[in-house]
Amino acid sequence: MTTPILTVAGITKTFPGVRALSDVSFDVRPGEVHALVGENGAGKSTLMKVLAGLHQPDAGRIVHHGREVAIASPLDARTRGILLIHQELSLSPELSVAENIYLGAWPTNRFGILRKRAMREAAAAALEALGCDFGPDVRVGTLSIARQQMVEIARAQAFNANLVIFDEPTASLTEAERAQLFATVAQLRSQGVGIVYISHKMDEIFSITDRITVLRDGTVQGTVETAATDVDSITRMMIGRDLSSYFHRARADFGEETLGIEGLHVPGLVHGVDLSVRAGEVLGLYGLVGAGRSELVEAIFGIRRASAGRMRWRGREIPLPTPRQAVDLGLALVPESRKEQGLVLGLGGRDNITLPHLARFSTLGVMRPGAETRVFDRFRDELSIKTTGPDQPVGLLSGGNQQKFVLAKWLCAEPRLVILDEPTRGIDVGSKSAIHELIAGLAEQGLAVIVISSEMPEVLGVSHRILTMADRRITGSFTGDEMTEETLIGAVSAGPAALPSAAE
């Protein structure tokens, strides 16, 4: 048996009010892809932050290449060859690719002057080795998410990393980008690098990993060979029960039209979109990243100014709303990015939930904390959110638990139309099916629902009807048996001209 690159034993880490890790042990071997799975808040990111020098453990040992070490800082981790690729990317958008690769460890000559040429060349070599299609001088802010991720991986290449940790790397990638990432992972693996791979997507786990370690409430439930197990047993280890049906589609019982949009145009972003959604209907909006789906719903919600377009709301023609008017009409938009658009990270869960509905939770301008706490309690239980209390700043929560607060925030005021933009990104399997059930439940209560998702099975599983978008236009509309993987892929890759049926 090969000696592990890294062994951790008995790691414990507590935060005020939370024991995030208790007595965690596991190891990573060279040339292995080791999956780390568990529910939201199980402690996956915390464990990896310990390895990357971002947290110091309260107890436990870390053995790296046979020697016990203390990892003091991210830079220390990097010089040891341990590299964490974050759940939320952490590059400096204003700097070039090369500067980002060497961020904080810029090569200098003995006078402290930046050795720009050497840095550029080394960066170019790393990018080349990974087969990247961009050079070291590009400003990072201009790159897509997938390419930014490649920049982080190039860091691993440039620093000769021996342990690379991916924390939910595919959350915002398209299918093609995902395939590219897996190729890169395979490449690192063949170089003998040890890889830790965190994900909530079971198909990924089972296609690229060698072993799986399951965390639950900060403790290791076990480590198993991937080949010797299956999705159901892993799920059971994660959440302690069986998951019945993965998808749950709402009963098809439609009422009147809730929202109708005609000729919506946002210069450069959305071109002449028509759509209509009825009460009780779940409308899926499928397309690749960059197709214009988020921009479309942001225009409907008034965040983006449309240059043209008409809107019908429950049978009445109305002017396009401002966000405030949209909320008051009964529209809810669960935005794509929880940290930027969804939450005020410094405020507690309670204050975040009620933020769009301050009028509803106040009398003559004075907030009613009792009423606020009641909804907080309700949603914490309903969505099983892991938090220490209503005032714990949501910035301290795990990614998935933050996402649940964004959902709670928009569901608590009984809207008539809910638009969900990638609602299950970063959510664990158990909660994911809970959210799918929630979506179905909303529709069955007579709400209209629009779901944007880049996950094909999800769109297919929850929608009654699917609109496809490509290149900032609607390219097709599908119902019933027409909704298959093939038709959707065809509709988002071919241009609109190639399609017989336009949107209804």
């Binding site: 971002l54 966000p323 909320v327 658009q341 005020v344 410094g346 301050l358």
Partner: protein
Amino acid sequence: MSLHFAALLRRHGLLVAFALFLALVAVQAEAFLTPSNVLDVLRQVSIIGMMALGVTFVVVAGRLDLSVGSMLTLLTVIVVDRTNAFGPGLAILVTLLAGLAAGAWNGLLVGVFRLNALIVTLAMLSFLQGLTLAYSGGSNVNVADGTTWFAAFGRGSLWGIPAPVVIFALSAAVLAFVLKRTRFGRAIFAVGGNETAATYSGIDARLVVFAAYCLSGLTTAIAAIIMGSRVMGAQNTIGQGYELTVLAGVILGGTSLLGGSGSIGRTVLGVAMLGFIQNGLLLMGYPYYVQWLVTWGIIILAVWIDLGAKRGRILA
């Protein structure tokens, strides 16, 4: 255990240091902690404190207001001069409206037109200085009628407590409630904490910032009324440098310059700390300029602690 102690020290380190300082001065100067000296210090800080209340709203909303010093000068000149012209009642009304207008002007530029707060309010500082000179013609003004009830705001007292302290305390109580318990206050926190998320929640950030500046103008107007009444006159330089002392008080209390956190209680504490430190240094016989040097040290310390806490929150 030691971890908790460190956290405690980080949270309350300044307070602990302050308590030590109080004890130290009290031992050396007997007059320090007598009721009359304490009331005196509170009276002295009430003008700065009054201004700091409004500025706290601006800072929590993620902005800055450096114009309050010269705004105080102008408004003090106005209230004194108009008292001579119209009598106190109308003069006070005019002053409050003028303060509101000056704040609204800042709010329009920063909130609605989204110009940089530092630059807008620095420019305003200079503009208001010019306006003061234009208004007063360069000469000092004095309240002509020494017996007017206008004197009550700065010189009167209620049950032995100086009127400025009473006004400051009442305003602090009201504004603490507004910031903590009302819709407006919540919107201030949201806009300062994450403006994008606030916008996605249907909150009009422009309006919220505008209102914060209006409030800052209003509290400065109240401070000017106290000031004019205390001095029974006004010089053209009366508020010079106040903007920094006000900001020092806000930061010292622990309200973060990054926006999104803070409270009125903290500001009151910060301003009071400044006052007692300066008074203590004087009583211990240090020359006047030492106050300035010490204030500098305290501000650096406060900002450093704030940053440390932030970094701890993000990385640790």
